[in-house]
């Protein structure tokens, strides 16, 4: 019997959630960090959404947040003109890196030794985290604010998306632009999938998939509403889209067919990401909440439990809740 999706609402933030990122799978599970305009990014257990801690220290809206692969370090980019590096186990602030304007994006290399930052001052910076006192390597090139800066191709190259409607591929050693992709509209999100070298870019009402090394277009899909964020499933079966109409859309990546759409958020969806095992995806919204959605609806995973109809009315079902999808934060 077909089941109806029950999203799990993670409360705690008091302003819009603008960015989120998962870690890789660690011996302690995987983790999720959320960036919020309330200036207090939060760390959560990835498969349940349980709050672990809040990183306190920023004095402005946090626009970008990321975790290193092992989820031992976190980095955040904020409107207080700093990017901060945190110990993701204790919650302590390790480093505060001063910038000249709002910082929008932060990204660790695979070995967590370097941090890439980009923001409104249009300058790409690379910090050597083993030498925090040293000046970062700075590179200019974009003609307006950088929205997203990501390491790619085994940290040998860098991908950036900016308000100048371009996505650029940079060579890390020369810091020269290797390739530029122009767009008609501002790029709203960019996701890099190392396994398979796929780049997911959203702009206007389109989600486009590119080869991350050559920047050649693989395919593009038009969606019903203005897209704010899109994410590709690790096994490349599905991709999910969130945008202005408050809904989440799930598409078949191979056939480009729209499979499902879900209502639930009370505001535009700003960010959406698949978990590293592909079993769920998380969305962050203007309504201040994060929601976790199952990829395979009805499967037992995390806090979701597959229950046969007979079990729902039995004596033993005290611990199970049959909840309506719109759970208030």
């Amino acid at each position: 019997m077909a089941m109806r999706q029950t999203p799990l609402t993670c409360s705690g933030h008091t302003r819009p959630v603008v960015d989120l990122a998962f870690s890789r799978i660690t011996p302690y599970g995987y983790f999720l960090i959320s960036a919020c305009k309330d200036g207090k990014p939060m760390l959560r257990q990835g498969d349940t959404g349980d709050w672990i801690g809040t990183f306190l220290g920023h004095k402005g809206a946090v626009w970008g947040a990321t975790l290193n692969n092992e989820a031992t370090k976190a980095a955040t980019a904020a409107a207080d003109f700093t990017a901060k590096v945190w110990d993701a186990v204790t919650g302590d602030e390790i480093l505060s890196l001063a910038h000249k304007h709002i910082v929008k994006s932060v990204n660790f290399t695979q070995d967590s030794n370097y941090l890439l930052t980009g923001g409104h001052d249009k300058v790409l910076r690379i910090y050597d985290l083993s030498k925090p006192e040293a000046e970062p390597q700075e590179t200019s090139g974009h003609t307006s604010a950088i929205k997203k800066a990501l390491w790619c191709n085994n940290d040998k190259q860098i991908l950036t998306a900016a308000d100048d409607k371009t996505v650029r591929l940079w060579d890390r050693s020369s810091m020269e632009v290797v390739k530029t992709l122009p767009f008609d509209a501002s790029v709203s999100s960019m996701e890099y999938i190392p396994d398979g070298e796929v780049l997911v870019i959203s702009y206007g009402k389109t989600v486009a998939f590119y080869n991350a090394l050559s920047l050649e277009l693989i395919k593009m899909v038009d969606v019903p509403a203005s897209v704010h964020s899109a994410s590709l499933h690790p096994e490349k079966d599905f991709f999910v889209v969130g945008g202005d109409d408050f809904k989440l859309y799930k598409y078949d990546y191979n056939t480009k067919e729209e499979l499902e759409s879900y209502k639930g958020h009370f505001g535009p969806v700003h960010c959406v990401r698949f978990s590293p095992d592909g079993e769920l995806y998380a969305s962050g919204s203007e309504d201040g909440t994060l929601r976790l959605w199952q990829t395979a609806v009805g499967k037992t995973y995390g806090l979701w439990k597959c229950v046969l109809p007979e079990e729902l009315v039995s004596e033993n079902s005290d611990a199970l809740y049959s909840t309506a999808p719109e759970i208030k934060a």
Binding site: M1, A2, M3, R4, Q5, T6, L8, T9, C10, S11, G12, Y28, M42, L43, R44, T48, G49, D50, W51, I52, G53, T54, F55, L56, G57, T72, V89, T90, G91, L292, Q294, V297, G298, L303, W304, K305, C306, V307, P309, L312, A319, L320, Y321, S322, T323, A324, P325, I327
Partner: protein, 130 residues
């Protein structure tokens, strides 16, 4: 009519009293080493004496906070700010100090919260009779 998927419980939210990062969690215990790193087998004696020193210092700091209550404190803060106030208390993570009669260029603020990360240093006089 589709049945909604059952959930065991809702995700836990912030506890409202602290910033989290539970030191008793398995991950914290495994990944947080004390400042004395062990190059060989862990030296229990060193760990014990470090822990004793930490306890002593923490207790002394907490007692200093108690001694500070109702006293005039001079705060030196960033942006060349120096203010005087009467200390009322601190929160559990020592992130905010509650003060009274905070003397600011705009006047005396009856009650205020000072963010500890904004403070560079503070000083107060201990009653010599104690």
């Amino acid at each position: 009519m589709k049945t909604p998927v059952c959930v065991l419980r809702l995700p836990r939210g912030p506890d409202g009293t602290s910033r989290g990062f539970d030191p008793s969690s398995a991950r914290y215990q495994a990944l947080c080493t004390p400042t004395i790193s062990a190059s060989g087998p862990v030296d229990c004696v060193d760990l014990r004496s470090e822990q004793r020193a930490r306890s002593f210092l923490r207790e002394r700091y907490l007692r200093s906070l108690i001694a500070m209550v109702k006293r005039n404190v001079k705060f030196t803060m960033y942006e060349k700010v120096k203010v005087d106030a009467v200390f009322a208390g601190s929160d559990i993570d020592i992130l905010n100090f509650q003060v009274e009669d905070l003397e600011t260029p705009l006047g005396v603020q009856k009650e205020a919260l000072i963010r500890c990360p904004d403070v560079i240093s503070y000083s107060f006089e201990i009653d010599s009779s104690l």
